[in-house]
Subunit: 321 residues, 2 copies
């Protein structure tokens, strides 16, 4: 393994989530030279090895598309939880992988190359810091607001891992101690209120009738945009919870920029206006008033760009072996 | 100015607060070779220059007590807010100093020596990390629970400053968005609930009659220990608020240890039991369950020890010019 990427060579970047698996060949500047993705085979008919073979096929295809280059290393964002940095992964939404030795498998496949795996939301935050809206700023919280609420923390220009690689869990900052139960086992976490399924459930309790099954937070945001009052209230509810959590994070970490990505962040002013209002209510000290909350810039590829940065900019984003 | 302290020389350490000013000569291992303190002349009869001369006299006396050694540098903890790292200080509880150029004055007085000033609660956290209960741990939150609630954050073994030197403001993590107004202008901050005067006001509203004026949170804790039910409820209220804020901080920063100092932390199990209960209710994920909350170890001198560490261990605790 080398500490520094070989000059000029690209990185093989991987993003493993419950919905899709994406792979890209990323050049040193951050440009994506080749890319493909597939729906994660996640219907119970695929076992751990089947899922691994699916990923290997995707890696083969994308490498071939890029002209089968040599690589400087392999960077991976994967849904949590995982041991870290060993990356035995047990993604919440991928039941086929429990304690799956993802890093070890990739090290065998890419012998001699550095292989680095981190939480997928952390990779999104790193991507936004390296090449997105956080570029050049020292103190940035990157967030993903979607089926869950995740994040990653860059302070003093360096990725913060915490004791076990789990720093950045903004979704479990408590915004209402008497609030709804959270999937984590706690109560009143940001995620319990602002995650898509939580919002949908709340809106349905309040009388939102979308007229079909399997609706998501994005559908809710669409209805809010069309003026449905319950859907609008749901966006206000999510925005307020986000604003309160961001106020807490800003006070604790003295942040400059909070970048919000994920499906729900597409809701625009429906979400960001109540967010700003709650943030400005709770963040009143001079230093905290300076924080800027902005939509993430890199879209669907931010996690891949961040995964590549674990290799390309390891001085800032990789603090482990 | 030198980047590294001259080997073997002590540091002149200063702790400036609204109640007292303390000065110590601290040896490289953290031992205090000489120490004195005075009540901060804070009755309105002293102006900025008078206060400075008082501090200078104290510096002269303590240096003489230590045998007038040469110093490796000067480390200072001072009540906030301040510009940082320039340290023009405007301590909330010292009206005589507004934009007082403390660092610049000390630099003139100790020409050629490094002079470093940080928030007093940050110095407490640094002291506990360097020589107290956080020693050898990578990810530590140090807290001071007293007239206010302050703190400092050490992550990955390094002090976190944030964008403006204000990281560590655990007192303004929101624990109840509909809670009482806070001195910061916000609402429902930890400090609004758990600071001594806040607890006293709440207990008095609930019928606590201590029988004299000018009572503090420490008096309230004494009454709680004697079994006064309202005083007990006040400790439970403070403990819960602390537990919720610590759960949020642990999720965001993946902490190993939280060290709690300040007058109110003397309340022992009265405070720490409800704290633990709230923390364990809200911090349920595996990584968060591992956090340990412990009383600070260094007592009244922790801020001085931490101020000295700004010089002695600048690779970990000083990230500015």
């Amino acid at each position: 393994m080398t500490d520094r990427p070989a000059a000029g060579l690209p990185v093989m970047a991987i993003d493993v989530g419950g919905t899709k698996m994406a792979v890209a060949v990323v050049e040193p500047g951050g440009r994506i030279a080749a890319y493909d993705r597939i729906a994660t085979p996640n219907d119970g008919g695929v076992d751990a090895e089947g899922l691994w073979r699916t990923l290997e096929s995707l890696l083969d295809k994308v490498a071939a598309d890029a002209g089968s280059p040599d690589f400087a290393g392999v960077g991976v964002g994967c849904g949590g939880p995982m041991t870290w940095p060993a990356a035995e992964v047990s993604p919440l939404n991928i039941p086929a992988w429990r304690d799956f030795p993802l890093r070890s498998r990739l090290r065998s496949r890419y012998a001699g190359l550095p292989v680095r795996v981190h939480n997928d939301a952390i990779c999104v935050a790193v991507g936004e810091h390296w090449r997105g809206v956080g570029r050049g700023r020292g103190n940035v919280l990157g967030m993903v607001v979607s089926t869950g609420v995740g994040g990653g923390l860059v302070l003093g220009g360096h990725l913060i891992d915490g004791a076990t690689g789990n720093a950045g869990h903004i979704g479990h900052v408590v915004v209402d101690p008497e609030g709804p139960p959270c999937v984590c086992g706690g109560r009143g976490c940001l995620e319990a209120i602002a995650r898509g399924p939580g919002l949908v459930a709340w809106a349905q309790e309040q009388g939102w009738r979308p007229g079909r099954q399997d609706v998501t937070g994005v559908d809710l945001a669409d209805d809010a945009r069309r003026g449905h009052p319950v859907a609008e209230s749901a966006m206000v509810r999510a925005g307020r919870a986000l604003g309160i959590a961001i106020a807490s994070a800003t006070h604790l970490c003295d942040l400059e920029v909070v970048a919000i990505g994920g499906g729900l962040s597409q809701a625009g002013a429906m979400l960001f206006d109540p967010l700003e209002e709650a943030l400005r209510t709770h963040a009143r000290m001079g230093f905290a008033r300076q924080v800027q909350v902005v939509p993430a810039a890199l879209g669907q590829t931010s996690g891949l760009i961040g995964a590549a940065a674990l290799i390309f900019a390891s001085d800032r984003y990789w603090n482990a072996d």
